[in-house]
Symmetry: C2
Subunit: 104 residues, 2 copies
């Protein structure tokens, strides 16, 4: 065998999951996003977003701020510095995987 | 909100899973690979490789050829034309996700 391949096992599995990659990517280019912003952007259900946002929060990749706006409870998310670095590494590794898969 | 984001929901979930992305990428640049080649390249167990290779086979993305070499049963995998196109689309979409996440 020629054995050319770039390992996908080093891709941070916390970020790799599609919904979580969506959340992280959206927060990478938007300073803060509310729960409803994210829900609309990603086109997912409340439950799905809650579960995945919590996993990212537990990992310290995003932080969430809860507050009231005209008596309505709001949740706002932002990427942490740790999350930004983890996403950066993930994107670098994924680029390496893509280049290898294209035989470049 | 600025609402800049590239949807990750269009990423083919069959290919996105890390082991399967590893299999597809390896077969994209190696004409054929044996079961043991793939196992060694990806550093995974027999069971793990079997399960994911079968899913890709059922989708028609890879095909497997079984034969005997000096009385030892061998399995050889290769990417199908459908698989090559699906991987190409996946890589294109992932590149779009990466560019968007980098704010480019």
């Amino acid at each position: 065998m020629e054995a050319k391949v770039s390992s996908t096992s080093q891709l941070d599995r916390l970020i790799h999951q599609r919904v979580r990659l969506g959340i992280m990517s959206a927060l990478a280019v938007n300073d803060t996003l509310s729960f409803s912003d994210l829900k609309a952007l990603l086109g997912i259900t409340d439950g799905n977003l809650s579960v995945h946002a919590r996993k990212l929060e537990e990992a310290g990749y995003i932080e969430c701020h809860k507050y009231f706006e005209e008596r309505v409870p709001k949740t706002e998310y932002r990427l942490t510095e740790l999350g930004r670095r983890a996403l950066g590494s993930y994107l670098d590794r994924m680029e390496t995987v893509i280049r290898a898969a294209r035989g470049a």
